[in-house]
Symmetry: C2
Subunit: 237 residues, 2 copies
């Protein structure tokens, strides 16, 4: 898997070899790592000159200063630097550790991988290619692992999607006893991404794609970007 590879074609030919025939309503969940790699988002750290700020944060965190420099370039703002972790808001608006810049599964000590330029656009392109190859109406979700403020351990979340409405708004429906639901919005895209990691994660990262079948999602063109909660809506702080 390298720069310029067509992800949809690789998924289609791998599925064909495994005798998997795509169906309408299949959801193809893809680890961002391979999307980033195909889009040339692998960074050779030997080409990076760390800034003074990167050197300072590197000393504080024990991280490679060149890795820190890439994190800074991928960040809109730094929220906190502590215990070896840089919490920042990425260019995409996602608040997470290290702006989604991974050292693991990149290719050894001199490489890191950043998030795709725009994961929603990546998802739309892969979906279009898969539709051409399969003739089916699929959804595509691009995922990344993410830490949480109040809970230990990471879970997989949807950073890009196409063909599925990531948020299922159930306000106005009735509950089992006829009472109207006033606040129920479920982030199905994140739940599907989490489900997929049970397959993706267990195969030692050697399986970057999972097929979710049998879930009747709401088709739509709402991007995963819509999941990101604006700071002023955050009631937890």
């Amino acid at each position: 898997m390298g720069k310029g590879d067509n992800i949809a074609e690789i998924i289609f030919s791998s599925a064909t070899r495994a005798a998997i025939v795509f169906q309408d309503y299949d959801i193809v969940v893809i680890s961002h790592t391979i999307v980033s790699r195909a889009e040339g988002r692998l960074v050779d750290l030997r080409t990076i000159n760390p800034s003074a700020e990167a050197l300072e944060i590197a000393e504080k965190t024990g991280k490679d200063a060149r890795h820190v420099e890439v994190i800074l370039r991928e960040s809109k703002r730094i929220l906190r630097v502590e215990r070896g972790v840089i919490i920042s808001e990425s260019r995409h608006g996602i608040i997470s550790a290290n702006a989604g810049v991974d050292a693991s599964n990149a290719g050894g000590v001199d490489y890191v991988i950043t998030l795709p330029e725009d994961p929603d656009i990546s998802a739309a392109r892969i979906r279009q290619d898969l539709k051409r190859l399969t003739g089916k109406e699929l959804a595509v979700i691009i995922c990344d692992t993410s830490g949480r403020p109040f809970r230990r351990g990471t879970v997989n979340i949807a950073i890009g999607c196409s063909g599925i409405n990531p948020l299922w708004d159930r306000r106005g429906e009735k509950d089992l006893f006829g009472r109207t639901l006033t606040s129920k919005i479920t982030c199905v895209a994140d739940e599907i991404a989490s489900a997929a990691e049970l397959v993706i994660g267990q195969a030692d990262e050697g399986t970057p794609v999972a097929l979710v079948r049998g879930y009747l999602f709401k088709p739509g063109e709402v991007p995963a970007r819509a999941i990101i909660r604006p700071d002023e809506e955050n009631l937890f702080k």
Copy 2:
């Protein structure tokens, strides 16, 4: 489903009617609502006298003051009251909206349901009963929906578990390129709970139990309580 019902027996007989035969490594994911109900955690609001604090918060939020009173009783501390939402730390240490006290699917305007007294103990009891009934080594996860500070929509999380280690610590393993993973801990219990809601949620809350099969989890006796991140570990604030 009412107070005193044996959840394991109901699950076992429902599964038997559906010709489902339990296997080792099956994970039974149960919505807390039915566990709470069986444990007598349905509250008749006509028996609740709201305190002055509850009346004040009710006026601010537009909530039923008796519902607010139950939320206050279930909370260790209130973090914020805004836009109709009370963000608090529950008795269990879970930071969420309304201390997990649900008005929906409780039984109309005069009822709310609280979380189980100790969801890990509930999960252990149900697992023990299921083992007796099935002879199989299963895991049990009790789940609830939960909001997130930085992301819109709720996802299902594990509030109680038994038989499965909720956190998969992969630190020290090698990545695809031989680099040692230094920080990878995955909250598989939350991912399994999220996967289960794709089944539980879509059936209009009429399906409170999901069976997850084929995931080779790490057996263990670590409670879901261990997922809760102590405040001093939260780097996002």
